[in-house]
């Protein structure tokens, strides 16, 4: 599970207990294949497309999407990673530490940036990411791909590519990995 989720969901640092399997491994793979086709279709190819994965939950997902895009279209899409800790709006409200590497391999000016994350929740991480990527140039457009949209948005942000819409309670936790998506909660 994304460390970010673990840190942000009370009780902080608890242990994840799964209650239900939302998607199994095959369903996750199919969802990523569909998202990859949608990215291709929306952008009429992969010219200028750059995947930017949000640390840490989006990285593995973005790698899988990049591999699919290569299998479908034969194009090696550039991929970067982004840790948004320094751009969060809750600095000072709770412990915030940049914990993972930011590496953007290309100038983003004029590019089509597809942000990739595992779960879309309040939208605050994406807000921070939108702010952060402006430090790397002015993209032509920014799109958002997530495996799970779990609702509870606190900002006017919506995804462009979604694996599955999943109604949740606020205190629940969604664990996404290539082997499946689990819904559960944190316990001390």
């Amino acid at each position: 599970m994304a460390d970010r989720e673990r840190r942000m969901t009370p009780p902080y640092g608890g242990v994840f207990f799964a209650r239900t399997t939302v998607l199994d491994a095959a369903q996750v793979q199919r969802a990523l294949t569909r998202i990859s086709h949608e990215i291709l279709e929306r952008n009429q190819g992969l010219e200028d497309v750059v995947l930017v994965a949000l640390q840490t939950g989006g990285v593995e997902i973005a790698r899988l999407i990049a591999r699919r895009l290569f299998e479908i279209d034969g194009v090696d899409v550039p991929m970067g990673t982004l840790d948004v800790a320094l751009y969060r709006d809750d600095i000072g409200l709770r412990p915030v530490m940049p914990e993972a590497e930011t590496e953007i391999p290309v100038d983003l000016a004029g590019k089509i940036v597809v942000l990739v994350d595992d779960v879309l929740f309040t939208g605050r991480t994406i807000r921070a990411a939108l702010d952060a990527i402006t430090a790397f140039g002015r993209p032509r457009s920014v799109q958002l791909a997530v495996v799970i949209d779990r609702g509870h948005r606190e900002l006017p942000i919506r995804p462009d590519f979604v694996g599955k819409n999943l109604p949740t309670r606020r205190d629940e936790v969604v664990d996404v990995n290539p082997e499946g998506v689990l819904l559960g909660e944190m316990r001390k």
Binding site: L86, R94, M97
Partner: protein
């Protein structure tokens, strides 16, 4: 646990490693086309430099600005300090203005800690050099520079294991040497101090180092040649006989540099007395002189310290 940074001696190895790893992040920020982040937006940092400083002051200033903090430059000469206001009054005044961080340099050893003990809970005090006592951010940036040189980045487990560092010069009067020794040895380096008896600190036997008066006998064993600035006053005080004598015994002359293995690196906290600690030609032409790298690294190291104390919401432990 502390919300201040006064002396590296207060920090465990793990806390030093964490700050160096955080520095990796800010080095990356510095490489972006817009090398500035909003992490300390709304925070105010006051700079109180009661002693001359160029690079430390500029470096803290730039670090604060790249974190989007507001910087309050306190003019220590033209202010009411020259009218006899005490430092304590000044700190009270600045604190009453709602400052979040105080970066302080003073010629009196121990003053930053005294101030840290007095400020209210919301203020972080950062020592930018006090007397002969400590210069913690210099120690961190020197350690970071070596980690970066030997391992590209600090990483989560920064280490200088297996590295032999020589620190050469006026150790007695050097807060940089004190902080460097602590930073280097915490990370596992072996340190040898090289200085004439007159420039060795009084209680040097308690330091976790080896000591030598004879540079030429130990120089071949060093992986890092760490030079210190020699102050002209030391001659007036009779602690060294003459510049020529010092250069002859302790200067990195062209002849000495020629005998160094190529991979040996040279550091100096600056400004260099060209032709004394280090020959002009060595400074200009030798590879592996890391002096500019040290200056460059000052900014991300200080960003890491400021962010850690003012923004992360976590105390250093």
């Amino acid at each position: 646990m502390s919300r201040h940074l006064i002396n590296l001696k207060d920090l465990e190895r793990g806390a030093i490693q964490e700050l160096l790893h955080l520095t990796d992040r800010f080095v990356e920020v510095g490489q972006r086309s817009i090398p500035k982040v909003p992490a300390l937006r709304g925070k105010t940092i006051a700079m109180l430099f009661f002693e001359d400083s160029t690079r430390t002051r500029l470096s803290f200033d730039l670090a604060a600005k790249r974190l989007s903090a507001d910087v309050l430059e306190f003019p220590t000469r033209s202010s009411s300090l020259s009218k006899g206001e005490s430092i304590r009054d000044t700190v009270e005044t600045i604190q009453a203005m709602g400052v979040d961080g105080l970066v302080i340099r003073h010629s009196s050893s121990g003053l930053p800690r005294e101030i840290a003990d007095r400020v209210n809970d919301s203020v972080a005090v950062i020592n930018a050099g006090d007397g002969l006592n400590a210069h913690p951010t210099q120690g961190l940036l020197d350690a970071y520079t070596l980690c970066q040189h030997f391992h590209t980045v600090a990483g989560p487990q920064a280490s200088l294991e297996g590295i032999h560092v020589g620190i050469i010069g006026d150790v007695k009067h050097s807060r940089v040497a004190r902080s460097d020794v602590h930073a280097y040895t915490s990370l596992g380096a072996t340190v040898t101090l090289v200085a004439p008896k007159s420039l060795q600190p009084p209680n040097v036997q308690d330091w976790p180092v080896q000591i030598s008066e004879d540079l030429d006998s130990v120089l071949p064993t060093f992986d890092v040649v760490g030079l210190l600035r020699i102050q002209k006053e030391r001659m007036e005080e009779g602690l060294i006989q003459s510049v020529d004598d010092y250069v002859d015994r302790y200067g990195i002359t062209e002849a000495r540099a020629a005998k160094l293995r190529n991979e040996v690196v040279i550091t100096h906290p600056g400004p260099v007395n060209r032709g004394i600690e280090l020959a002009e030609a060595v400074l200009e032409h030798r590879d592996n002189v890391l002096i500019n790298r040290q200056v460059t690294n000052g900014v991300p190291v200080r960003m890491a310290v400021l962010f850690r104390l003012l923004g992360s919401g976590v105390e250093i432990d």
